[in-house]
Symmetry: C2
Subunit: 322 residues, 2 copies
DNA sequence: CTGAAAGCGCTTACAG
DNA sequence: CTGAAAGCGCTTACAG
């Protein structure tokens, strides 16, 4: 590969002038500019970005920290980020952690090491206490509500409450739900909404109706298998993701449970395939969350953007006799 | 941020020695090594990777070129790549092109500019003639069969033929199919398999049964809308992706077409949600293709890896009277 | 409008 | 075992 020096020599100018041409600076005599451009063309020259990154202390790249790059929930957020990034000059680096605290830190250290200018955290393994100090080294954005950081998020308490109220309105009194990681903030929000709404409606709280560690289709199947073992079963399930809900639909069929007659299901995320399943679900506009998160990364500032959600009613919730 | 110079000064050694400690070189007196390590700890030092990249001429990063980062087909390939990459020290940069030739070239130029060490091309907008010259600047891998490049691919002629033969065995004589981009290699392979298999079976070829530009759920819906307009309709559709197939299932229901009684459907990709849909589909093991492609990037060489496929039989194909 | 020179933060022969 | 120095390929005051 040729360098700026080669260009300078062949064009008969200094490297400063070449640099000026490369960066569209004014104050280069037209004749020299043309000559430089011509040599660049001839040598098929391209800048070495690593040198530029070193000098500028920036890479125009953002890391997106998430546990699983192959999960539709995160894919939707990433989709939004990419869409927003495409119109900027920022490249997107996927940073899958598998919820390993160590891997997560490694990505944060990439920022410290100037490999990426910032990090958007879709979901995290470490506590904020551990993560926040890295904010000093770059632009850190969260996809959940964090006091100290710019963030784009769903109000999970609110979303979960809405879904619960809808189920209650349809006559359900015995409602269970699933969560991914029991200690995540959104799971805590769901638990408190569960208590809050059920108590307000004088409905019994049954914590054996809570199914943790639910991430993918197989978890959905597992939930139904566990469910059929219970003598006292919920009539409705509020599921933390449409993929889990898909697993529930599959296994329910196998077990001879009719959805929604025997079991109502509300999903979360409104994935593209959910329409085909006729799944009633909460659309939290993950794409939008991704977009907003990217904007926050790009423009800095310390805003908190709460992205509204919608309940999308389809065919997996039945109306019960009052 | 502190630099190697600061460490050297405070530790009372040269920067050479600091570099040696950082890179686990032998030949550093234990006492000095300890001192350096201690100062590094104190200053909370991290290397500036851009300097290292500049010196080494490498970034340990691979770009993955694809049209849409939010499409399940590509997400599955990317999933495989990420899985393979996680156990190496290589980071994965997503390069969505939206099938813009210009954007695609931009990513190839990132390689030329030393921002990434290589590029895995999942699907491309430019001709190979345009792309191949970039192989000079880094490691280029394809996810389709290309003479000049290492590649991991599906034999689409073979896969498509298998599905056709299965449909014919089930008594179908009037078969249509969909493709994404009409001029892609896989579409051409499908067309020639269509001719080949149908002719061998003395079945009529009807090119109005070919539905191009089919990418997502909406395209699947569109296909059914077009289909119901035809007086002469195929009894079975071989669809180029499960997402399109999902759209077909949705719209068929709306139009009062029973699948599979009125219309049999075979998908492609075996996406996670396909099981929930009961969709018969061809699993081409996209994850595996991604993994192999990454291995080819990592280890160089010029292998061609043909990844085998499976026909996954579920409930969307009917048996017709002979 | 132009160029010499310092500097970005590292690695790596080379000499000792 | 150790360090001075050159070099990776750029940008950017500074002086003219």
């Amino acid at each position: 590969m040729s360098t700026i020096k080669d260009i300078a020599k062949l064009a008969g100018v200094s490297i400063t002038t070449v640099s000026r041409v490369l960066n569209n600076h004014p104050y280069v005599k037209d004749e020299k500019r043309r000559k430089v451009l011509q040599v660049i063309e001839e040598l098929n020259y391209q800048q070495n970005m690593n040198a530029i990154h070193l000098v500028k202390g920036k890479t125009f790249m953002v890391g997106v920290v998430l546990p699983y790059a192959d999960h539709p929930y995160f894919q939707s957020i990433v989709g939004g980020i990419i869409k927003a990034a495409t119109s900027s000059e920022i490249a997107v680096l996927l940073c899958p952690t598998n919820y390993s605290k160590i891997d997560e830190i490694k990505y944060l250290e990439m920022m410290k090491r100037k490999q990426i200018d910032g990090v958007i955290i879709c979901s995290r393994a470490n506590t904020w206490e551990v993560i926040l100090p890295f904010a000093e080294y770059g632009s850190l954005v969260a996809c959940e509500l964090v006091e100290e950081l710019p963030c784009a998020y769903t109000d999970h308490f609110d979303a979960f409450s809405s879904a619960l109220n809808y189920l209650i309105k349809e006559g359900h009194k015995s409602i269970g739900y699933s969560v991914a990681r029991e200690n995540s903030n959104s799971s805590k929000a769901r638990l408190s909404a569960y208590h809050d709404v059920l108590e307000k409606n004088n409905l019994p709280i049954n914590e054996s109706f809570i199914f943790p560690d639910s991430i993918d289709i197989d978890d959905g199947k597992r939930i139904v298998k566990e469910l059929v073992q219970l003598k006292d079963r919920p009539t409705a399930l509020l599921v933390n993701g449409d993929e889990v809900a898909a697993g529930i639909l599959i296994q329910a069929k196998k077990e001879g449970l009719n959805v929604p007659a025997d079991l109502s299901v509300i999903g979360f995320d409104n994935q593209p395939f959910s329409e085909a399943l006729g799944l009633t679900t909460i659309d939290q506009h993950l794409n939008e969350i991704g977009k907003k998160a990217f904007d926050l990364f790009l423009h800095g500032g310390h805003q908190k953007v709460c992205v509204p959600f919608d309940l999308v009613i389809r065919n997996t919730v039945s109306k019960l006799q009052q």
